[in-house]
Amino acid sequence: MSLDDATVRKIAHLARISVAEKDIAPLAKELSGIMDWIEQLQEVDTSAVEPMTGGADMMLNWRKDAVTDGGHTDKVLANAPESHEGFFGVPKVIE
């Protein structure tokens, strides 16, 4: 299973990473190399196996669904490249 150029363009868009057109083909080759190596997983019979979905073998703790912290607008915005009146600033999204 190899990744063609169109697939690379699609996943780069899904991941919101712009890739120059000249870099698409080399990237497709590189990613295909990795996916071809990963393909060996298909040899393993997993028909009766439950997926392991996390790193811990334990029940997670329950807690009350309650507000425990907040009111730190200044701290939250302190690292933002752009902010206005207590909000993050972004390019216009509505025409």
Binding site: I11, L31, I38
Partner: protein, 491 residues
């Protein structure tokens, strides 16, 4: 007075208790070492002023009978832990200028125990790498060199800066994180002790996330005792990380009894592939001999799915990374590259802010999670991960610990493995299986290669049994008698 940077962490702790020297003197000595070792590029950010201020407080606390477990001990912190008011970069361009308004739980625990932060250590970008070469701040260098070869070698990765900082005596110990070997592999390359605890032992809160079902913080030190001392402070339940274990933290230092009589140690045949480096095979055999001499019983075991661990990891970790790294969008922190639209800004910011390896992994992860491929890759990898986990569960029905090499090679020159991603991934062939299984592992410096570089042996135990791991590691360390680098000296 003994050169203060030559002390182990436990010796420095005891010296401070006895009043042989002050925390300020101890900290100044390490700041000087940090300055003279700048050619190694092990620190991204140094905070000597803060460190001295904290050392004065530590001396004050001690004189008022309020000394914590690590009072006055200077440490290096991998620059993946958020530290309040101190630049935190994850060695990525995309986090330019990010100064966290909060402290990670692990570093907060260290702080509360009186430890002093000297600075933030270098790493592979977002902890993705095995050589520390993918850092936006430049490669960190291994303080060890091959006999008769002046070239700089990699310190391993991703916690390469932490490993090299400890090996070069710029700090008494450091903390790292291990997702697939990122503590144990650099520890092996730099001749220090690197410990990855059981998944859930340390809180992940405030650690820049890479792969959330695998990431785990751990200590990097010059001795096993130092490792036990640091882990006891780092570990513990944290309500802010739902996967942190709500169970008591044992006294790990007390586990160092030196007695392993009757313990059963497993040797997995899959870790001795054809063509295993002969220095490493010989060291492994020596390790077996040391444990036998100490009264342990050594048995051959099999972990049949070992060969599938790396390809499993390279689906699971990138898939989780692609989700975790979605937050770097140029809106809330770090780098922003303006675009014609919001989407264009995201794509340009992420293109400029992430390095090649990080992009590769995000794209692989995005592919593995995308419609039509989820079952074939991500679900498949999760199932194989279960089989790898079961291999260990079965093995630990019969043995108390497992002994293997840590790495398939010693440290290599900068640039040597950078052309082919898969050859770089193979560095973690012996460390990744334990990461997938969530079990603890420790790398002990055990000898030198024929060209004079450190080599580590890895011990693994079942979940939550770090005490057995430390106990066996202590015996192995004593038998190996490995001597690290002397002050500012050659290997």
């Amino acid at each position: 007075m003994t050169e203060l940077t030559q002390l182990t962490l436990s010796e420095a702790r005891d010296g401070l208790r006895k009043g042989d020297f002050s925390a300020v003197e101890l900290t100044q000595a390490h700041i000087k070492s940090m300055e003279t070792n700048r050619d190694l590029n092990v620190f991204i950010t140094e905070v000597p002023g803060l460190a001295i201020e904290r050392a004065k407080e530590a001396d004050h606390n001690r004189s008022h009978g309020k000394a914590g477990a690590l009072e006055g001990l200077p440490l290096g912190i991998k620059d993946l832990f958020c530290t309040e008011g101190i630049l935190t970069t994850a060695a990525s361009h995309i986090l330019d200028g990010f100064t966290p308004p909060y402290e990670s739980t692990v570093t907060a625990n260290l702080k509360a125990a009186g430890a002093i932060t000297l600075g933030k250590t270098n790493l592979d970008e977002f902890a993705m790498g095995s050589s520390n070469e993918s850092s936006y701040y430049g490669a960190a260098h291994n303080p060890w060199k091959r006999k008769g070869d002046p070239r700089y070698l990699v310190p391993g990765g991703s916690s390469g800066g932490s490993a090299a900082a400890v090996a070069a005596h710029t700090c008494l110990g450091a903390i790292g994180t291990d997702t697939g070997g990122s503590i144990r592999q650099p520890a092996s390359f730099c001749g220090v002790v690197g410990m990855k605890p059981t998944y859930g032992r340390c809180s992940r809160w405030g650690v820049v996330a890479f792969s959330s079902s695998l990431d785990q913080a751990g200590p990097m030190t010059r001795t096993v005792r130092d490792s036990a001392i640091l882990l006891a402070v780092m570990a513990g339940h944290d309500a802010k990380d739902s996967t942190s274990a709500d169970m008591p933290v044992p006294d790990f230092e007390a586990a160092l009894s030196g007695d392993i009589k009757g313990l059963r140690i497993g040797l997995p045949c899959e870790y001795r592939p054809d063509g295993l480096n002969s220095d490493i095979a010989a060291l492994w055999d020596k390790g077996v001999g040391w444990l036998k001499d100490a009264g342990a019983e050594v048995v051959d075991i099999s972990l049949p799915h070992t060969k599938y661990a790396l390809p499993t990891y390279y689906i699971v970790a990138p898939a989780e990374a692609s989700a975790n790294l979605a937050r770097y969008d140029g809106v809330r922190f770090g780098l922003r590259i303006e675009g014609e639209s919001l989407d264009d800004m995201y794509a340009k910011t992420r293109a400029a802010g992430f390095g090649a390896e990080v992009k590769r992994r995000i794209l692989i992860g995005t592919y593995a999670l995308s419609a039509g491929y989820y079952d074939a890759y991500y679900l498949k990898a999760q199932k194989v991960r279960q089989l790898i986990h079961q291999d260990f569960v079965s093995a630990f029905e019969n043995v108390d610990a497992i002994l293997t090499p840590t790495t398939p090679s010693s440290a290599f020159p900068i640039g040597e493995n950078s052309d082919d991603p898969i050859s770089m991934y193979l560095n973690d062939v012996f460390t990744v299986p334990a990461s997938l299984a969530g079990i603890p592992g420790i790398s002990i410096p055990a000898g030198l290669s024929s060209d004079g570089l450190p080599l580590g042996l890895q011990l693994l135990s079942k979940r939550w049994d770090e005490e057995t791991l430390f106990r066996v590691a202590g015996v192995l360390e004593e038998a190996a008698g490995f001597s690290g680098l002397s002050i500012g000296g050659e290997g």
